[in-house]
Symmetry: C3
Subunit: 145 residues, 3 copies
């Protein structure tokens, strides 16, 4: 068995906090594994200011953070092959969809979206789990049809 | 780094809709990545007719749809290595289990099952996220015991 | 396409039950795929005895079970690259974190944590979905910073 060296992804936009019990991102060869990302602390600041971020705004912040992690790993947004989206209100599904469409354009990864009973902070409306491969660029795809 | 060409999986049973913000399935070499699948719109038609599909029926529709996507990718049901099952009522776990057993026989992929607070349409009782590899056939397995 | 022989992971700590409709673990080459693990039946015995296991205790049992599956596959806890943690009460997030930190030390896999509306038994507070690679050891990591 050949070992694959784990590479810890570090970037200012999604820093690993000293007390955290998880790592935000790892790269193993071409595979990028990420922790679920949220728009915290931007969501907290906005809520404290009386102007909470809606689901579309939160989704764009989250996708930008995922992209920052991918860039730090040597990749880009079109390496994302799948997202699992957790929302706290299923009525937000269309808002999340608009943000996804704006972010990915016509190069759409797979997606699963379910509503959960709570995320780690009360002002969070969306958390996204992304799976990415640096050897894949969805802009270069072929199709069976 | 060698690029892996992304292949968009297209099939009539699970078409990618023009307004969708996701792709139902991608193949990257031997790896198949899918979006969470539901029994919509069959569930909606059945509900409108006053005969909603129960969890076992929905699960069989969903697994059939996943199989259709795998066939379009050149594979089959025994390429599925794991499913994550989201139900809206935990009491449906046994009904889902009966459908899984009928579908997979003795060649059982891994499974995770949790109850979520909502899926994308109110008549949905189950959504399934599947992970598959075309180079794996669970019927050819060996065991440590 | 070269076939990868699926290897069913079997261990006493997480046995596959005759009536189950899933397999607890599969190994495909270096990749280990697992079913979501819980602390059942220890949770049930403790609840019946009037001393239910709290979230931290349950998490340690679950992580130990995942480790037992990995050992049976020829690996260890530092092969775990990601966990998805489902809790039934979001207030348990810190207790889960303490258990993760105790278990993984400074070699922390990615993690996603959401609260769901129910797990398969009422006394369960946490279920963990783990992804592991036998060719990866997080203790040997490098970093971009």
């Amino acid at each position: 068995m050949n070992a694959t060296v784990p590479h810890r992804i570090a970037c200012a936009e999604a820093p690993d906090l000293p007390h955290a019990h998880w790592t935000n991102g790892w790269r193993f060869g071409n595979d990028v594994v990420l922790s679920g990302q949220t728009a915290h602390p931007a969501t907290q600041r906005a809520a404290d200011a009386g102007q909470p971020l809606d689901a579309c705004e939160q989704t764009l912040v989250v996708l930008g953070r995922i992209e920052a992690l991918l860039r730090a790993a040597g990749g880009h947004r079109h390496n994302i092959v799948k997202t699992v989206v957790y929302v706290t209100d299923i009525a937000d599904k269309d808002a999340v969809g608009r943000a996804r469409r704006a972010f990915f354009g016509d190069h759409l990864p797979c997606s699963t979206l379910v509503a959960v009973s709570a995320l780690v902070f009360p002002e969070l409306r969306v958390e996204i789990d992304a799976w990415a491969r640096l050897d894949v660029d969805l802009r270069t795809s072929t199709s069976t049809t």
